[in-house]
Amino acid sequence: MQNIETAQGQSTVKRQRRMSSLNRVLKYVLVRGLTLLVTVTIGVYLAILIANGGGYVDEMRKGQIRESISIQMAGNPENAFLTLQERRELEESMVNTQIQQLGLHRPFAVRSFEYLWNGLTLDLGRADYLLSDSGSRQVRAILGERLGPTLILMATGQLILFFSSLALGLVLSRRYGSFLDKLIIALAPTSSAPAWFYGMFFILIFSAVLGWLPFGGMVGAPPPQSTFWRIMSTLKHMILPIAALVLSRLFSGAYSRRTFFLIYSSEDYVEMAKAKGLNDREIERRYVLRPTLPTIITSFMLTIIGLWTGAIVFETVFNWPGIGRLTQQAINMFDTPVIVATTVIYAYLLAATIFLLDIIYALVDPRVKIGGGGRS
């Protein structure tokens, strides 16, 4: 009888605890979201200031407008009958009209906040110079076209890299001190060279000398007609970049994972698990991998961020039509709206990833209590 009562008491306590923890989680999510929003706003505003050269890009554009109008006027035979004075006035009024059309007459400080608002609401506007492949000036269309290829390449590459270095690290930590272990450690410094460095050699060997694989790009020219062969062609174009990406990071990745697992497998609770008579696989799963899960998830999420952002030089070397190459083109051409737009997208993706990470972290690690409410 008493047992039943205490059981009921326990279950109400549990329910109350669950309710209060739900409230705590909601509050935490809200606070965390707002904090991240402030961070994103500041980041985007800084990007706007920098991409506009603190307003100097406006002066450059005004100069360009004046130059093109004076050339236009000089080339127009109608203007030959005007006096110098009239010509100057006409030129001035045409320049002013165009400046007003583009909104350049208002102070930059005011416009920068408009840009900020437009950026944050994803009203990305029109590119100054760049065009999408379909001929659109809409930044949204340009970005939309480029995001896909980056994701395909980077997601495949980074996921292969992440899981293979995790698995290799686990194998090495089991065979600590073996020949394979020593070999991988010896190879780890090769990761100090970036992926595009290996990429150039791969292109040289496999494309230029052997002629097995394409030099770059995403599909063969002309693109195959059927979808199947188009996919096959893309896969073939992905081999070299992904090989370069994986090779450039695998050894150091596996090395750091291995060390990490070795440190965790010397924890007292791992020896305890052994004393308890668990078999090696259970020990590895519950006592090594499980406690390291938060750290592994963190590095996985950071990998995901790296995967969105692409790699500027890497995509340029492989002529891959992704975000990285777009960024490079936009920077070369001072195409402010495109630069700002990519920054905004990155900022949002980064914030979303961190937001997600915070929540997952609290779920997998009981030591991280959401909302700081102390012990429950």
Binding site: G177, Y269, E271, R290, P366
Partner: protein, 328 residues
């Protein structure tokens, strides 16, 4: 007392570690017998091989093992002959459980205590989760922890509670032998006293054989039926606790006893000058000789184990052959 069967019979146990500067003879030729239901306290200075002895019995060996030999007859079977898999399945936890030295850190930080405690039961015994839970709740009460703490995570418990949780885990599977490796060393005095009371209560209620490893001779006196003194990898004296505290034989044991404060006597505490020898290339003779006040010529050779009756043994030339003190 003496008609009880022998639970653990260790003969010529050696455990050497490989290091850069040579082999470390952490446990060197140790032999002893422990009867069922008795508690053996292994005492000695830090680094004398107490913990290595425990690890050797539990077969929890580090990677740099060089020599691991001798025989460990446990409940009539030589478990040294078991391969690792059989040892894991038949001996670990179901028969020999342990409370390790750092038992505060021996709980997986991200798994609830209950799940960790029922784990060995689920592996070694064919019982349901519910039965395992009931059993764990029972032992939790024995060690004096509130049952609802089972639902908590280790970080939500104090050090002393975690230690008791580990003891509960060790008791849950009804092992024949429990090795307690300095169970109280990391605790404050109050928690130590508390833990000792728990252990005493367990000893009275459950008929389990214990090996208690400690450097605290006072603590050992509360629980021990037998006392083993280790010095530099050797077991220099093994005696019934009844006699040991008043009549220790080995000069080292005598010095050790003289260093322990007692309540009712007013005595000057002594210390032993010098350091224990390195376990890498230890001296060929008696390892205590360099610090011993009663040293004589023979001490440059390794002393034999002398049986003094009542199962007591001592490794000292003073007692050789006749069992009597030659140079008092």
């Amino acid at each position: 007392m003496s008609d009880k069967k022998v639970m653990l019979d260790v003969k010529n146990l050696k455990l050497y570690f490989r290091t850069q500067s040579g082999p470390v003879q952490a446990v060197d030729d140790v032999s002893f017998q422990l009867k069922a239901g008795h508690t053996l306290a292994v005492v000695g200075e830090s680094g004398c091989g107490k913990t290595s002895l425990a690890k050797a019995v539990l077969r929890l060996l580090p990677r740099n093992i060089m020599t691991y030999s001798g025989s460990i007859v446990f409940d009539g079977v030589d478990i040294m002959k078991y391969d690792d898999e059989r040892f894991r399945r038949e001996i670990r936890w179901s028969n020999i459980a342990s409370v390790p030295q750092a038992s505060m850190n021996s709980l997986n930080p991200v798994v609830r205590i209950e799940d960790q405690l029922i784990e060995p039961l689920l592996i070694h015994e064919k019982i349901s989760r519910q039965q395992a839970r009931t059993r764990v709740a029972e032992v939790f009460e024995i060690v004096g922890l509130p049952v609802d703490f089972l639902q908590r995570y280790p970080f939500e418990l104090s050090g002393g509670m975690r230690q008791r949780a580990i003891i509960a885990m060790a008791l849950a599977s009804n092992p024949k032998l429990v090795v307690l490796d300095e169970p109280s060393s990391a605790l404050d005095l109050l928690s130590q006293a508390n833990l000792m009371n728990v252990l005493k209560k367990i000893k009275q209620e459950i008929n389990t054989t214990f090996i208690l490893i400690t450097h605290d001779i006072g603590t050992a006196s509360e629980l021990a039926d037998e006392i083993a003194v280790m010095y530099a990898g050797k077991m220099v004296e093994y005696a019934s606790a009844q006699y040991f505290y008043t009549d220790a034989h080995h000069p080292y044991s005598q010095k050790l006893m003289a260093s322990v404060p007692t309540l009712r006597e007013d005595k000057e505490l002594e210390f032993i000058p010098g350091q224990p020898p390195s376990l890498i290339n230890p001296p060929t003779g008696c390892r205590f000789a360099a610090r011993c006040e009663k040293k004589f010529e023979k001490c440059s050779m390794q002393p034999n184990t002398t049986h003094l009756g009542n199962g007591a043994t001592v490794q000292c030339w003073l007692f050789d052959e006749t069992g009597e003190v030659k140079h008092a």
